[in-house]
């Protein structure tokens, strides 16, 4: 589904070259739920953002569904509609109502008819459990509700992969559950997901595979049981001691 080969992303600032992502090679299979964890600044968000071209890579290769993202003639916009993304800060469109937030891209990008798009939007709002808020503006919703709308908005494009960039980090603790619940349901339905998160509970419960990153490098990967019970690398052990 998603293959990354020796992915590198460097930022140059104040004469220094920072290796945000430093040679990550992995293969994410269809219907797999991959959770990326690691300390702050380990490059996990940057890695995720590379996957739908929000960051341009310095070197390496990303192949999504057989299409090489780095090839010159690849239309990133075509890839992006197949790859849904959920942000830490929700990034709902504040000037549009909840329903319009979900309809807009369907109409503009997928060229769906208004009625069809509305039907889809209502169905998804039902699914994430806020059907009654369709005419509200985002500002009047709680963080958890906003994030669920954001998930519905991404799902409306019928993506093949969903990327989650710390979806619960900006939420009040009591709203984390409702968002994770939606994500778990998605995972159960067989959606391919890449999730950057600090929610170890979610990783343990839902992940098929856990990637641990530090300083841009993929330090260790494995099933949750392997990862949480018998990690091999020193760095992983240190990290887990501190967060668990």
């Amino acid at each position: 589904m998603i293959k990354t080969v020796d992915l590198k992303k460097t930022f140059i600032g104040r004469g220094q070259t920072v290796y945000a992502v430093d040679g990550v090679t992995t293969h994410i299979k269809p219907s797999e739920v991959v959770v990326v964890i690691g300390p702050s600044g380990s490059g996990k968000s940057t890695y995720l953002r590379c996957l739908n071209g929000l960051e341009t890579l310095t070197s390496g290769q990303i192949i999504i569904d057989g299409v090489d993202l780095t090839a010159k003639k690849t239309d990133l916009n075509l890839i992006r509609r197949e790859v849904g993304m959920v942000f830490q800060q929700f990034n709902l469109f504040p000037h549009k109502s909840v329903l319009e937030n979900i309809i807009l891209a369907q109409q503009v990008v997928r060229k769906r008819k208004r009625g069809e798009a509305e039907e889809k939007a209502r169905m998804l709002l039902q699914k994430v459990g806020i059907a009654e808020k369709e005419n509200e503006y985002p500002i009047r919703l709680s963080g958890g509700q906003q994030q669920r709308v954001a998930i519905a908005r991404a799902l409306a494009m019928d993506p093949k992969v969903m990327l989650f960039d710390e979806p619960t980090s900006a939420l009040d603790p009591e709203m984390v559950g409702e968002v994770l619940e939606v994500m778990k349901q998605l995972a159960r339905e067989g959606m391919t997901m890449v999730v950057v998160t600090h929610e170890m509970g979610f990783a343990r419960e839902v992940a098929d595979r856990v990637l641990f990153m530090d300083q841009g490098k993929l330090v260790e990967e494995g099933t949750p049981e392997h990862f949480f019970t018998s990690p091999q690398e020193e760095r992983t052990k240190l990290f887990l001691r501190q967060v668990l």
Binding site: F87, N91, A105, Y137
Partner: protein, 319 residues
């Protein structure tokens, strides 16, 4: 309750201060030798125009028929022509069976006509409206170029903005009229509107740029991650939000433009200011006319402020 009472007191003080200033001005004008003639002003807004009706050829008055307040005169020419003319009853100058020579006046008709001040107001209004619209278009395009990733577009827009903001509008108007007007053979009206629009465009561009840059980066990322391309994201996501944020400064810019439009009077466009000057030459009511002109500008600008405030309220539903 208490604070409301206090507020009333402060408002009262405001009125008092304004009243004292007005009274001071009044006393000051009393000391100089100036006769106020406000009664001369209204005729420069509208006036009763007398149109004399001449006989078109040598003729004889056949009949005069009385309508409500008009008289219908039928005349027959020597060569068999027949004519019917309506004139005001009061102004009737002929009687039945009278012989007329070509050019003799049968009477007159009266109609209300707009005076120079009203025409000037109208000219200022549409001149400002036209330059606002063009200014907004120019500003929008330039603003988008200003934030574009293309270096040439960015350089060009910066050059334009710096050039316009660094020179006085009055000088620009002269250049447009005397230089471009001559080279490109454009009329004074076109020169005036272009100068104003291009002047406003530079400021609007900076306002639009600030508006676009004030929208969080996440908005563009969210739009792009849904598969929209940059133009689509701009049209549907960024610009509507930027427009809402830039409405107050844009309003200020367009209010400035209405006032700046008075400068085109230097290239002999008869706008409100120039009309005022012309009326003064025939009335010598200098003080009155300038006060009236100022008041008319104030009316235009405050109507615009109200309209913008209304749009702002409409757009604030999502706040």
């Amino acid at each position: 309750m208490n604070s409301q009472k206090n507020a009333l007191l402060w408002h009262g003080l405001t009125v008092f201060i304004l009243f004292m200033m007005g009274a001071g001005l009044w006393v000051a004008t009393k000391k100089i030798d100036y006769t106020w003639r406000w009664n001369r002003v209204p005729q420069y807004f509208v006036y009763h125009h007398e149109e004399l009706v001449p006989a078109p050829y040598d003729a004889r008055v056949v009949s005069i028929e009385n309508l409500r307040d008009m008289s219908r005169i039928k005349i027959a020419g020597e060569n068999g022509e027949e004519g019917v003319f309506d004139v005001d009853k009061e102004s009737l100058r002929v009687s039945e069976d009278e012989d007329l020579f070509e050019g003799d006046y049968l009477g007159a008709t009266f109609e209300w006509r707009a005076g120079p001040l009203l025409w000037g107001l109208w000219t200022t209004l549409w001149l400002s409206a036209a330059s606002s619209i063009f200014g907004l278009i120019i500003g929008l395009v330039t603003g988008l170029c200003r934030v574009s990733s293309n270096l040439t577009l960015r350089n060009l827009s910066i050059t334009y903005i710096e050039l316009i903001r660094g020179t006085p509008l009055l000088v620009q108007i002269f250049i447009f009229y005397f230089f471009l007007g001559t080279v490109l053979d454009i009329s004074r009206i076109v020169a005036g509107i272009s100068a104003l629009a291009i002047f406003a465009g530079a400021y609007v561009a900076e306002i639009i740029r600030a508006g676009i840059q004030s929208i969080p980066k996440g908005q563009m990322e969210a739009a792009r991650s849904l598969g929209m391309n940059v133009p689509q994201a701009m049209v549907h996501i960024i610009l509507p939000q930027a427009f809402k944020r830039t409405l107050p400064p844009l309003a200020g810019q367009f209010i400035s433009l209405i006032k700046d439009s008075s400068l085109v009077s230097v290239i002999a466009i008869t706008d409100l200011t120039k009309s005022g000057r012309e009326v003064i030459t025939s009335t010598f009511a200098t003080f009155e006319i300038w006060f009236v002109v100022a008041f008319l500008y104030l009316m235009l600008t405050s109507v615009l402020s109200q309209v913008i405030a209304w749009v702002e309220r409409r757009l604030s539903v999502s706040d």
